[in-house]
């Protein structure tokens, strides 16, 4: 019996964004179909994973997350080096956690100096991610933009409350920005319009719809991503046709379920494997909803996700 395959007529396409600088460029985006729907469209650039590096020694991490980095955890440059040399990281995401006013609250110039060092020593595209405090991020990320002039860093999160300050500086020093909004398609579109009005060019923009992880709001992120892709690909919503990035590891590794030991919760199985799977399965769901860049932590979770991407890009029969 022959069957007629019901294909969708996509009318839009995700923009291709060139990240990094000459010699280490990576392109993301470019999809002309829903995630991995390769029987009716193309994904010229499979999703990429950026490995996290912290600007200071992280607190409160479960043992499993520290273990792979124990030897480099005091030094962001060495940490980034290990991610690239040992774990084959395609991108690095420098987390400026110690800038948080609720934490160490290091000043912007000090933070920028750390970012500069990592940027100088790292030969893959570099994401620099603020602490999430709107005002502090404006200060810190602007300094980072200046001091790393011309490196085409990926700067985020850029939010409604600080997009003018960061956006303008990013344009001046030629970086790419991450437009970040709290799980809302209209707000996502609105911020992209505002950044466009500010003259951030379309090839310097990727979007962060905000993360909810397994057990903690995953479904909201998942659906807003599917809606964004639907609007971008089938409703010609030009202001949503951008690659999507997600900062997921942070939220995964702080959940209670990942922190419980096997003795405390025998039914939840091996703690290390559980942490890895919470991270990898969160990533897997996000891939199915349209992620282009995933900011991840554990090398084994990353390996699982990379392999899964390869499998999903492959249409072989058996």
């Amino acid at each position: 019996m022959t069957i007629e395959i019901p294909k969708l007529a996509y009318t839009g396409k995700i923009k291709e964004i060139l990240l990094g600088q000459e010699g280490n460029n990576i392109t993301v985006g470019g999809e002309s179909c829903y995630p991995f729907h390769l029987f009716e469209g193309t994904m010229p650039h499979p999703p990429k994973i950026a490995m996290e590096v912290y600007d200071s020694v992280p607190e409160d991490w479960p043992e499993a997350a520290i273990e792979p980095f124990a030897d480099v955890i005091h030094d962001p440059v060495a940490w980034a080096g290990k991610c690239i040399d040992v774990y084959g990281a395609e991108m690095i995401a420098l987390q400026m956690a110690s800038t948080d006013p609720n934490a160490e609250n290091i000043p912007a110039d000090k933070a920028a100096a750390i970012a500069k060092k990592v940027s100088d020593e790292t030969d893959v595209p570099l994401i620099v991610w603020g602490c999430g405090d709107v005002d502090k991020d404006a200060e810190v990320l602007r300094s980072v933009c200046e001091i790393c002039d011309g490196r085409n860093l990926i700067i985020g999160p850029v939010a409604e409350g600080n997009y003018r300050a960061i956006g303008a500086t990013a344009i001046a020093y030629n970086h790419t920005v991450v437009a970040s909004t709290p799980i809302d398609i209209n707000l996502a579109k609105q911020l992209n319009i505002l950044l466009g009005n500010l003259n951030v060019s379309d090839d310097k923009l990727i979007i962060d719809p905000s993360i909810g992880v397994i057990g903690y709001g995953l479904e909201y992120t998942y659906s807003v991503m599917e809606r964004i892709r639907m609007a971008a690909l089938t409703q010609e919503d030009e202001r949503l046709q951008f690659p999507i990035i997600l900062d997921l590891a942070k939220d995964v590794w702080k959940t209670k379920e990942v922190k419980l030991s096997e003795e405390e919760a025998p039914l939840l199985g091996n703690q290390k494997k559980r942490g890895i799977l919470f991270e990898a399965l969160t990533a897997q769901c996000l891939l199915m909803a349209g992620a282009d860049v995933l900011i991840m932590r554990h090398p084994e979770a990353i390996a699982l996700v990379k392999e899964s991407i390869e499998e999903l890009m492959n249409r072989r029969e058996g």
């Binding site: 479904e219 091996n270 494997k273 990898a280 999903l312 492959n314």
Partner: protein, 449 residues
């Protein structure tokens, strides 16, 4: 989709008797058309019309039940490609694979893990639901013995898999009351298994080597009068399974292609030897349209996140899970017990009450209606500010139950504490920790003061 409200109305008794709980037949018809009512609610419709309407208003993916009694599970019943379009109906069923080649010990160990893997989350019980029993030892006695053991040792539903049609038939006959899923009708055994499923009213899986073959087989079975089918397209690579699952779901929804209007079965257990990779594949299939997902083993560290993720994807996007607005007494409270407030989002409530529970400090937990939003989301949406909390505390009646006037608020709301004290004269507002996991230590300290 299906019949319109008016078309359904034409077939109703038109007496407006109201026995269906809706004042008029027209109103009832409209509800039926949008899936908000069950045809059974009207006692005066003839069986014939019932079938006609039922068929037309049924979801494009048929609901199939596997197993019997309390542990019977529903799969399928889906009408959408994306959860945000309305909602997904029945979460996929994670299934343990057992082979009659396994030794006793392995089987017992896996069964124990299966039976133990029961988790409660936001008041909902999650667990792997089915057991797939495969005969591949070539000895039918081993297969029959394994099926008998599973029957005895669990009340879960199961899938019986055997290429030996004779052995399969005998086993189905022996446990037909448990309504197992028979796996699988394919080229040469199609009629035998079709008749077997009809005779014992059991659901039947149908397997093709590709979508074309699958459609052909399914059509023949539908022609034989089978109603409860489960589809296996034969794909055993991640990319191909995804493609097949999408095409099957779309054919059912967009083209009303009857042979594909059934739930599916997929086999991560046959696709890798690495349990971690297996979990990844299972997760893919959970999001994209697998109904029965067969796993080689059940381990807490993989089944728990899988179940949790699946609960997320299958919650109703239009209705966050909530708990009732009221004063919850946790432990043996008295007039000196601490008073704590949070919102009525189920997740928030269950996390916070769980931590209070484990602290063993008796606490009055005040739940304010925040329309199912988390603490910060509710605050950002204007539903958990000082003004509304103030009003809520006063009318909650808590002032009559306690002697002190101290209120603990979530750490994330620290910015409202001053304003809240103004709203609540005589009260002292204490800012608790941000994360609920720090509550037990905080409460112990508080109760010592």
């Amino acid at each position: 989709m299906g019949l319109s409200g008016i078309e359904i109305f034409k077939k109703l008794p038109k007496t407006n008797c109201g026995k269906c709980g809706v004042p008029t037949c027209l109103a009832f018809a409209m509800k039926l058309a949008t899936g908000q009512a069950e045809i059974e609610a009207c006692p005066d419709i003839s069986e014939e019309v019932k079938e006609e309407i039922g068929e037309a208003s049924a979801p494009p993916v048929r609901t199939v039940i596997i197993g019997a009694g309390e542990r019977a599970v529903k799969i399928g019943g889906e009408a959408f490609m994306f959860r945000h379009e309305k909602r997904f109906e029945n979460p996929p069923v994670f299934t343990l694979f057992l082979s009659d080649k396994m030794d006793e010990e392995t089987v017992s160990d896996r069964l124990t893990r299966f039976n133990n893997a029961v988790y409660e989350r936001v008041g909902v019980v999650m667990r792997p639901e089915l057991i797939a029993i495969k005969g591949d030892s070539g000895e039918s006695s081993r297969f029959e013995a394994l099926a008998a053991k599973v029957c005895r040792e669990t009340d879960a539903g199961f899938v019986l898999m055997n290429e030996d049609t004779e052995a399969l038939s005998r086993t189905v006959r022996a446990c037909s009351g448990r309504k197992p899923l028979i796996y699988a009708a394919t080229g040469n055994n199609l009629e035998t298994l079709g008749n077997l499923a009809l005779e014992f009213s059991c659901p039947l899986a149908v397997k093709g080597n590709n979508l074309e073959e699958l459609a052909g087989f399914a059509e023949r079975l539908v022609g034989m009068g089978l109603k409860d089918l489960v589809l296996d397209s034969g794909a055993r690579t991640a990319g191909k399974v995804l493609e097949d699952q999408i095409i099957i779901r779309r054919s059912a929804l967009m083209k009303r292609f009857k042979p594909f209007g059934f739930p599916t079965i997929v086999f991560p257990c046959e696709m890798t030897d690495d349990p971690m990779k297996e979990a990844m594949i299972a997760c893919q299939m959970m999001t994209k349209y697998g109904s029965i997902i067969v796993l080689s083993g059940i381990e807490g560290h993989s089944i728990f996140p899988l179940l949790l993720a699946s609960m997320n994807i299958f919650t109703d996007p239009q209705r966050p899970m909530t708990v009732e607005e009221k004063i919850y007494e946790i432990g043996a409270v008295d007039e000196n017990s601490p008073v704590i407030i949070t919102g009525n989002f189920s997740l928030t409530y269950f996390i916070v009450s769980g931590e209070i529970d484990s602290s063993r400090v008796p606490v009055y937990l005040l739940i304010k209606d925040t329309e199912g939003l988390s603490v910060l989301t509710a605050w950002a949406a204007g539903k958990f500010g000082a003004d509304t909390i103030g009003v809520f505390i006063k009318k909650s009646g808590i002032e009559d139950r306690i002697k002190h006037r101290k209120l603990v608020i979530p750490g994330y709301l620290s910015s409202i504490s001053g304003e809240l004290e103004e709203e609540l004269p005589g009260w002292k507002v204490l800012v608790g920790p941000r994360e609920a996991s720090h509550l037990p230590a905080y409460l112990k300290q508080l109760s010592q003061q």
